[in-house]
């Protein structure tokens, strides 16, 4: 069979890439692998790029989703897993060895909506829950109007939009609704994916924002970074101290500034911090407490621990530019203790 000469060349090139590269020797510099939550993807990409330039250690993080990250760290094919919801006690049993959580950055879930004139709205948690339950279905409902007396609300149907793809954003949003509305907690509950009583779904922040910007009367929830980058109208939400809080990097960091658990597993929603935004979302890295497993070397463990230390200290300064809130001091202190507790064969890796 005669093959076109140029075609043969291309075939050869493809074959070469495939077969020849199998023989390339392993690189000797250290590479760390991580996978999981998509939410912190951009900030990790920045942090790890800087880290590679400063230390030569290459970190490869892929946003395949929290569930994927958890699975990968369970299967020990990555050095660390990223997750938007911490591992619960019951699930800790599934790991072959103890794990620890290291929080990295904090984000927020903001409420965006499409109303003529884009007025700034004040909404409470219970009201948002009622909207998503279908109990409040018109914008000029008394419940909304009474909170926003200076805004002329139209007689428009409310169309709630939710994330169709499972996500930490949904997890934190529904966690908040469950905290402030017993009705929501009973009827729907709190998870990465729930059974939504009303409304329509859209994929990713972009999908939700896309629907909301196109359809008058719709309301949706997105990550703060997304809302900021795309200049969406967001609502002020009343926190548990009774204050109306605008979602901003400072009000988000403030939400985590209260008491911080030693194992760092805290649900930040409905925070008791007086100036904190009530729908905040922290994200963690999960690693094994003792790093001597499989054929992991001490060097690999050291590289990982150094990375974790750097992320929670020097790395934090890159967060605000990308619309992520940095860890407040109590959180950093907790992280330091956790990182110091990581061992290799029983010996702490970082003194």
């Amino acid at each position: 069979m005669k093959i076109n000469r140029v075609g043969a060349a291309v075939l050869m090139a493809l074959l070469f890439s495939a077969a020849g590269s199998l023989a390339v020797a392993q690189s000797s510099s250290i590479t760390l692998l991580g996978s999981g939550a998509s939410f912190p993807g951009p900030i990790y990409s920045k942090m790890f790029d800087v880290y590679a330039k400063e230390t030569g250690v290459k970190v490869n993080y892929q946003s395949i989703g929290s569930s994927g990250g958890i699975k990968n760290i369970m299967d020990k094919v990555v050095d660390f897993g990223g997750t938007d919801s911490f591992i619960k006690d019951a699930d800790m049993m599934k790991y072959s060895a103890p794990i620890v959580h290291i929080p990295t950055v904090i984000g927020a879930v903001v409420i965006t909506y499409n109303l003529p004139g884009s007025p700034e709205l004040k909404l409470t948690g219970e009201l948002i829950a009622d909207i998503y339950l279908g109990k409040v279905s018109k914008w000029n409902d008394q419940a909304i109007q009474s909170l926003n007396p200076s805004v002329k609300l139209p007689n428009l149907a409310i169309m709630p939009v939710y994330r169709s793809d499972g996500s930490g954003t949904t997890f934190n949003f529904t966690a908040y609704l469950s905290e402030v509305s017993a009705d929501w907690k009973g009827k729907v509950g709190n998870a990465n994916s729930v059974s939504w009583p009303v409304g329509q779904g859209a994929a990713q922040n972009a999908g939700v924002a896309g629907v909301v910007t196109r359809a008058p009367g719709s309301i949706g929830y997105v990550e703060l970074a997304y809302a900021n980058q795309n200049k969406l109208a967001v609502a002020m939400v009343r926190n548990s101290s009774g204050k109306w809080i605008d979602p901003s990097l400072s009000s988000i960091s403030a939400a985590a500034a209260g008491s911080f658990p030693k194992d760092t597993r805290i649900l930040l929603v409905n925070t008791s911090a007086p100036d904190g935004y009530p729908i905040c979302a922290m994200t963690w890295l999960v690693v094994y407490k003792d790093q001597k497993y499989g054929n992991r070397s001490l060097d690999q463990a050291k590289a990982l621990v150094d990375l974790l230390w750097w992320v929670s200290h020097d790395g934090q300064k890159y967060a605000p530019d990308l619309d992520y809130a940095a860890l407040p001091p109590p959180a950093v202190k907790a992280v330091e203790d956790v990182v110091r507790s990581i061992t290799y064969g029983g010996q702490p890796v970082r003194k």
Partner: protein, 285 residues
């Protein structure tokens, strides 16, 4: 070629003929129009991302100037190369088996298997390959990604090759046998070349099919912000980069995603042209 003017055509038959021609041409033009619309939209949205660094540099974090998708380009070449290496011979073998052993139970079963393979969502193939390859190897790899893609490619390629093989006139084989050629030689030396354009078209379509696949690569090739030429290590791929960038909040990254999508379509176009996927026009019989 018979000349229509010579035949005696009544007006009604001529009208029916013209109507049929329109019925064939108009929808086809609509299809080509749709394709143009989609590709143009992709180009318009992504053209702003094109620059030397887009093609030559690996990914950079958001906010850093420059940066490109070079790591994805190399990675895509690798996984597509591996997928083609694996699936083309296997598809040929399967198609030959199906055309030459038609009646047998195994053939009927194989036919169903190939067809049903298509109904497995690509994300599930990725998950299964993760269990079969990544975990035993204890590493993500371009190799695992290539294998996952080959499973998705195989039904398309096999089916196309098979249908073309079945249409090679039996006179070809009869002639070969009458000249004393053993069966296998007739198959490989006469039948396959006769079906060449169909085979190349099947491969071209198969490559097109897998070039844009993302989900299976998430759990196998994994992705890699750095350049990588080692097939046994995690690798990036253009669709993975598109997926990442499209999910992000940043308009700049969205533009890069569209640019990458255009590049992908362009790449598939070139591969199809180079392997001669379009094939010749008519062939004599």
């Amino acid at each position: 070629m018979a000349d229509e003017e010579l035949s005696i055509l009544h007006g009604r038959r001529r009208r029916k003929n013209a109507f049929f021609t329109a019925l064939v041409v108009i929808p086809a033009l609509i299809v080509l129009g749709l394709l143009a619309a989609i590709v143009i939209e992709v180009l318009v949205k992504g053209a702003g991302a094109f620059s030397a660094s887009f093609f030559l540099e690996a990914q950079k974090p958001f906010g850093d100037p420059g940066g490109g998708i070079a790591n994805g380009i190399i990675g895509t070449l690798m996984v597509l190369g591996i997928a083609s290496l694996v699936s083309v011979p296997l598809s040929l073998a399967a198609a030959l088996y199906l055309s030459e052993r038609k009646g047998r139970a195994l053939a009927r079963l194989l036919r169903l298997v190939i067809d049903s393979l298509q109904g497995i969502p690509s994300i599930v193939i990725g998950v299964v390959m993760y269990a079969w390859i990544v975990i035993p190897m204890k590493s993500f790899s371009a190799f695992a990604g290539g294998i996952a893609l080959s499973l998705i490619m195989i039904p398309t390629v096999t089916t196309t090759i098979l249908e073309v093989l079945l249409l090679v006139p039996s006179s070809f084989r009869e002639a070969a046998i009458s000249l004393g050629a053993p069966h296998w030689r007739a198959s490989l030396g006469i039948i396959l070349p006769a079906a060449k354009t169909g085979i190349l078209n099947g491969v071209g379509l198969g490559i097109a099919r897998i070039a844009g696949e993302t989900a299976p690569l998430l759990f196998t090739a994994f992705g890699n912000p750095f350049m990588n030429l080692n097939a046994g290590k995690p690798t990036s791929a253009i669709p993975l980069i598109i997926y990442d960038y499209i999910k992000s909040p940043y308009q700049d990254w969205h533009q890069k995603a569209w640019g990458a999508a255009f590049l992908l379509v362009l790449f598939v176009f070139l591969v199809n042209v180079l392997i001669g996927a379009g094939g010749k026009g008519k062939k004599g019989a």
